[in-house]
């Protein structure tokens, strides 16, 4: 039984204490928001004036998250089917394949991505028109 104290290993952890005097860099979320980065894959947007209702997005979606539903008034005369995509956020995985295959490039993803709700039936989402 020999006694060989590990002095360095015993004292060096106390270097952590200097963190006590630094100002924390925490993001205090509800009050302070992190600056948004371009190109984050958040909610969908759909420029209705461009959407042609081709259902390519519906076809590529492996989660069957996209429904094509009839639009109340025609915005785009080229929209042959009169349908626009509606996305079930209980299915979507934000892979952005639907935006990749969109022929007129009207379907896009925006930065906004935070949505908490206490009713599960609310998560059917019409992409914002922009």
């Amino acid at each position: 039984m020999q006694f060989s104290p590990d002095i360095k290993g015993t004292l060096s952890p106390f270097l952590a204490v200097k963190k006590l005097f630094e100002h924390p860099k925490t993001i205090c979320y509800p009050e302070v928001k992190k600056e948004q980065i371009d190109g984050y894959r958040g909610f969908h947007t759909n420029l209705l004036a461009d959407c042609i209702g081709c259902a390519n997005c519906q076809d590529v979606c492996m989660n069957e998250a996209i429904d094509m539903v009839t639009i109340a008034k025609d915005v785009n005369p080229k929209n042959a089917s009169g349908c626009i995509p509606r996305i079930d956020y209980g299915r979507c995985c934000w892979c952005s394949l639907c935006t990749d295959v969109c022929p007129p490039n009207s379907l896009k993803l925006e930065n906004e991505c935070i949505w908490a709700d206490d009713k599960a039936d609310n998560f059917l989402y019409f992409p914002k028109d922009k």
Binding site: P13, F14, A16, V17, K19, E22, P24, T26
Partner: protein, 292 residues
């Protein structure tokens, strides 16, 4: 005297929770975050009191936390708060250091009683660990206490406290102080000696089945008991305090050291912590005892 005792308990409760809040805040700062508000521990305990209790393991289970609470309060009442003051002395003139040391053991015993009746294997393991660790903790502390009693020719905490007017025991008997202090870190239940309730190993040890009100009692108990232990250390080694402000300052220094040590060290296993406690602080305290 009754009012005096009540004031002691109330003060210990407030300080205990305040220190617990401070513990969370200081740790948070070391972690690099802001941490909760100081009163968060109060909110927690009140919320726990408001919870329903849907489990029932029989009266023995509920007696556990209550015995722990009684242990903490009686320990507290036998430790005078202030040096040479008539107030906040509680029952200290009727008891002495030996009694206090004895009462400090009530906590794990109360725990053991509660756990024994719920049969949770993690709780049993936790309490076994607690009792094993206790052996390691008590040795150096008892040796240091014996050293002080011999040096002062008295077992009265008040006498030990007043005899330090020329120099604190921490400086006149440094080896005893170091031995007792390491053991005190263990008593505070911080790393590296926090084997009892280690969540990654034995879930949360004895507290696994405690819920709602009884968990709140256990929290209050640990807050009061922590303060009692701080108080004892200040009285024995740092010459007590003339006023409440001095008391807070001295206890806070001790507390801060305990928190920082707890933050930067990893947890020992039970065997390692007992081995360490028996070898290092006990050895130091024994050498200190020789110098006395």
């Amino acid at each position: 005297m009754f009012l005096d005792s009540l004031a002691m308990i109330a003060l210990a409760y407030i300080f205990g929770f305040l220190y617990y809040g401070l513990y969370r805040n200081i740790s948070a700062r070391v972690h690099g975050r802001f941490g909760p508000s100081l009163a968060q521990s109060f909110f927690d305990s009140i919320k726990l009191f408001l919870k329903e209790n849907s489990t029932n393991f029989g009266w023995m289970f509920y007696a556990g936390p209550i015995i722990m609470m009684i242990g903490a309060i009686t320990t507290l009442l036998f430790i005078p708060y202030l040096n040479g003051s008539e107030h906040l002395v509680g029952l200290s003139q009727y008891g002495n250091l030996i009694l206090v040391l004895y009462l400090m053991v009530l906590e794990p015993l109360g725990n053991a009683m509660g756990i024994g009746s719920n049969g949770n294997p993690f709780g049993v393991m936790g309490i076994t660990r607690g009792l094993t660790r206790l052996i390691g903790l008590e040795l150096p502390f008892y040796i240091a206490a014996i050293g002080l009693m011999i040096a002062n020719h008295s077992a009265d905490i008040g006498v030990i406290m007043t005899n330090q007017s020329e120099g604190y025991n921490a400086f006149t008997h440094p080896l005893l102080f170091i031995g007792a202090f390491i053991s005190f870190l263990g008593f505070m239940g911080k790393s590296p000696f926090d084997v009892v309730g280690a969540p990654q190993e034995v879930y949360s040890g004895p507290a696994t089945e405690f819920s709602g009100k009884f968990f709140a009692i256990a929290l209050s108990q640990s807050a009061i008991f922590s303060f009692a232990k701080l108080l004892l250390m200040v009285n024995l080694f740092l010459g007590g305090a003339q006023s409440l402000v001095e008391l807070v300052a001295k206890t806070f220094v001790l507390f801060l050291v305990a928190v920082l040590v707890g933050n930067v060290y990893a947890r020992f296993t039970t065997a390692q912590s007992v081995e360490f406690l028996v070898r290092v602080p006990t050895g130091i305290a024994l050498v200190g005892l020789l110098f006395v």
